[in-house]
Symmetry: C2
Subunit: 607 residues, 2 copies
């Protein structure tokens, strides 16, 4: 028996195909019987087309088609004809034609799916994940996976054209001493030893530069065994890039060209180049975030100098204690209700703030709990600095810089959304640069690397190693898009003397450093070129291009927030003999009976 295999695809047929005899393969989207004439909408990857079964031309095919139900797989042969203009369907790309079927083959039957195969229906996500193979038939999932595939192709084409070599680095590798929690893989051959899955190909990409490859890239799977949030997956994909003999400016310029091409060829948006560059310090000051959403203004203003001698006690005392006082002018929000104003307090608390002072400007008058403590000249200075006008709502946070940034940065984002300041069709890229090299770890009482211990300091800040290491800025950069970090990287240290200074600042002797980073430091002794790189968070980038808000929508077979694959039911128990071969055994805590009965997996995908 020869199968009736497709000559055309459902979604691509138009009036220009009228008169042709075509064979189509696809799934039954919908089936209607109108007085003995059967209409079946047939769906494949390209779209939907209407097929018609009529006693006048379909013969036996009509009776066979009559038994088909939704999601049956059919092969049909028939002639493309133009529909009666009155029955044109403007919702379908193929809406001006239909197929008069003369032959049919039921390639396969189908049970009734647990949810309709179409966009926009409300389905519990855990059900979608369990039946992912049906969920993937929905047009919006296919569109997103196509966009993902296309995006990868654009990255590869661009990089290939610029002389980058794609190199695959190991998945079974060594547990790293710093960073997130590793996934481990017990070795069968080497008793008691373990591989680790890579958190990123960081070490390998640097070794490839030592190896003289000059330009490397890889669309690499990475693994972090962290507690998950909505925008994290235990395995994720990054476009990993490393170069030698390039300056930071050259590399960033190249990545801008790449991003511009990506946006042009996926969403049809022409980006303005070069991207805005903003220092980490400015980003934190003006937007309260190191990944500012720059699609709107609404900048935060530092008013510490104005209120340091204020009668508003909390302002004065915070200023005296080394804290900061900052304000955000919510234009036009003076009309907020008392309830809305009251809600500012729990909002601030959510981000660690102790409170949020406010002032409304209505009918030329300043109102609010703190107004009576403000001096004439403070009001004048605030009016000028904050550009105060009739109808404004002024909000104030006074605390440690980090808390103020979190509170006002998040208030800024909320206002941006609530006030409709954000143009959702806009893709606003920017570089955040000049990150601090080191951060002070209060617990460990030592400096830790903000990026990683091989990040190159800015040349002009090297002298701070001896005086004030906290002031050193790094040649590190993040690429932000609409308030998300979509990429990040750094130039790397390649001179031994700088590396030694770095380890000293981190409180390691060279011996300790060698214990931690042995072979990488060895490698650096054999002629390391100046190098640096970047990694793009591919899942997140695709999510933003696709206009989705959940990473799982961009991944064919994602895991839930509890790192479960609901489709294959992984992880799962394994045979004892498997563990014996790996020289391990499980050590289980006795489970309370109640917990065991609670059936945890069902709700896990919705966090």
């Amino acid at each position: 028996m020869n199968m009736m295999l497709k000559t055309h695809s459902c979604g691509t047929l138009t009036k220009k195909d009228v008169g042709q005899t075509v064979t189509l393969n696809g799934w039954v989207q919908r089936r209607r019987d109108l007085g003995g004439v059967l209409f079946i909408d047939l769906r494949d990857r390209t779209g939907i087309v209407q097929t018609v079964f009529n006693p006048d031309f379909s013969g036996d095919a009509l009776a066979i088609a009559d038994r088909a139900r939704n999601e049956y797989v059919l092969a049909v042969t028939g002639k493309v004809v133009e529909r009666d203009p009155e029955t044109y369907n403007a919702n379908l790309a193929t809406g001006e034609i239909e197929i008069r079927v003369t032959e049919i083959e039921v390639m396969n039957a189908a049970k009734t799916p647990p949810f309709p195969i179409e966009d926009g229906v409300e389905v519990d996500e855990s059900l979608r994940l369990k039946y992912r193979y049906l969920d993937l038939r929905r047009p919006e999932m296919q569109k997103t996976l196509l966009l993902r595939s296309k995006s990868a192709k654009i990255f590869r084409d661009y990089l290939d054209n610029e002389g980058f070599i794609e190199v695959e680095t190991p998945i079974l590798t060594k547990s790293t001493p710093e960073g997130a929690r590793d996934y481990l893989v017990p070795s069968r051959v080497h008793e008691g030893e373990f591989f680790a899955l890579p958190q990123s190909p960081q070490i390998f990409k640097q070794l490839l530069m030592v190896g003289g490859l000059e330009r490397y890239y890889q669309i690499a799977r990475c693994f972090r065994d962290e507690d998950l949030r909505a925008d994290r997956q235990p395995e994720f994909t990054q476009v990993d890039i490393e170069t030698s003999f390039l300056s930071q400016d050259q590399l960033l310029g190249m990545m801008e060209q790449l991003s511009a091409r990506l946006l042009r060829e996926t969403v049809g948006v022409e980006l303005e180049l070069p991207f805005q560059r903003i220092t980490y310090a400015d980003a934190m000051n003006k937007y309260g975030s190191d990944k500012p959403d720059l699609r709107f203004g609404l900048e935060i203003e530092d008013i510490t100098d104005i209120v340091s001698g204020s009668d508003v006690k909390v302002f004065a005392s915070v200023a005296a204690g080394g804290g900061v006082v900052k304000a955000l002018n919510a234009k036009g929000c003076a009309s907020w209700s008392r309830k809305e104003l009251d809600d500012l307090q729990p909002f601030a608390a959510r981000y660690g703030g102790k409170g949020l002072a406010w002032i409304t400007v209505k009918d030329g008058e300043w109102r609010g709990p703190i107004v009576k403590f403000l001096k004439e000249e403070e009001i004048a200075a605030l009016t000028e600095r904050l550009g105060v006008e009739e109808g404004d709502l002024l909000t104030f946070s006074a605390d440690k810089p980090k808390v103020v940034a979190d509170v006002l940065g998040n208030l800024r984002l909320k206002l941006g959304r609530d006030l409709g300041l954000i143009d959702d069709s806009k893709f606003k890229f920017a570089w955040v640069v000049d990150f601090p090299l080191l951060g002070w770890d209060e617990e460990a009482k030592r400096y830790v690397a903000e990026h990683h211990p091989f990040t190159r300091p800015k040349e002009e800040d090297l002298h701070y190693f001896d005086t004030d290491p906290g002031k050193i800025r790094a040649q590190a950069y993040d690429l932000v898009l609409n308030g998300y970090e979509v990429g990040g990287g750094s130039m790397r240290i390649y001179k031994r003397e700088v590396q030694e200074q770095m380890f000293k600042a981190l409180g390691f002797t060279m011996e300790e450093a060698h214990e931690k980073f042995g072979f990488l430091l060895d490698a650096f002794d054999y002629g390391t070129p100046p190098h640096g790189g970047i990694a793009f968070g591919f899942d997140r980038l695709v999510m933003l291009l696709a206009g989705r808000t959940n990473l799982r929508e961009t991944i064919a077979f994602p895991k839930t927030a509890s790192a479960t694959d609901l489709l294959c039911d992984a992880p799962s128990e394994v045979e004892l003999s498997q563990l014996e071969q790996l020289h391990i055994r499980t050590v289980l805590k006795p489970k309370p009976v109640a917990a065991a009965a609670a059936g945890a997996p069902a709700g896990e995908s919705n966090q």
Copy 2:
């Protein structure tokens, strides 16, 4: 301080660049002082160029360059000049020019490498793997990695152009009930449970077809925890492909076009299409192998019918016992020495044979231990079947079919090499088709799937399910190249009734099948399209294109035969706290003191 960053690459400069001032970055390949004039050969990814430091034009740069040693990283600026034609170096692409250096920067110093950075030097492989970052600087390693990257690009470009979607499937997945040994990953969140690393994306690619993606590909990492041979790695790469609504012929034709493009654009060879197709039965009969090297003839002949009544006892008794007698005519080998002829016996033994009879044809006379037992008509029949001529050496194997195939198949390969019948510049592709669907497992006393339980039987053999399942041929195919299997796949079962017959033949009830393959069988109930696919062994394919004989040469950071990464020293011991978080502990056998002291790792990389 601004770095002197490259304006050009070393290996690309030619006479057309004469007169230009260029800046180059690279590694010192060689340094010669000829009477106060210093010549430094500078190397980057593109090749080597000669730079000259002369007191006449180099100023301070000469003294700085004088301190440089092999593998120092230099930046030089200078003018491209033509060399005196008498000093042209024909071994270098840049041999007609040199750079008169006026400025230099030592970007980095280098310790003396443990082996010379050049092709063709004898270096112990374990040393190369430990210092892989230096090994990768060797031109032939860079050439191979470039070829690998280019090959991946060609696969992607071709498949993208044919409407294939690249989809990433999970690395953290579920342990499979059949197949090779899994690598396991303990779950932290789900106590006592484990992920497994995929042996291939087989299940996911079929689910993507159920999901309506129609054409999928992925260059996928796969994992098998097997005892390794020279051509195996614990993690390996396959180009994984699956399609819906295509016949086997359509798919194979597409893969031929793809292969032709790959060969054209990498090694510049134009392949003849379509590829030869040979059935599994013919391949075993004629070449004693299911992956025959078809670059040469030397076919094996079945002579069982001729000698079944022979006075050569072993021939007659093997024929009577259901075995086969086959012969290979080694043309022109009648002149072999007695020693060479004697060596045939241990050769046969190595492949499980009990012996190898032989006859030389010299001066018109047949000589050898069995000649006297051959009847006139047997000699006549053999002369005709084997095309016997003066100077031939006839070899005979009599045993079970599998043993005869192994012995004569391997003898054929050895003769092919020894007699110079193999043209090494040739790339001879062929499809081996019609593999048996089932094999009889003597131990388990049941049939097992030769490919996997979802392989589609040939339509015309379906009736054998009821009578003689061993006779069913599968819609399965291997792509062989020069005696290596470089790809393989099958059409899959998509009809429930066929799947049930298959499980029945394998001795499973549908309930047992459900326990093993649960969610995949569930998926098949919801409208599964006819589908099938293939996977290319990417590492091996690149190895053959690069003319190498070892998979490790094609992988940037390979593992040794004992699954060790000598560069990062993985696997390794981990912190006890890491194991506690994963709810496991190690169970170690006490090591005998002698074994512990033997220092196993050192020699492990060679085999």
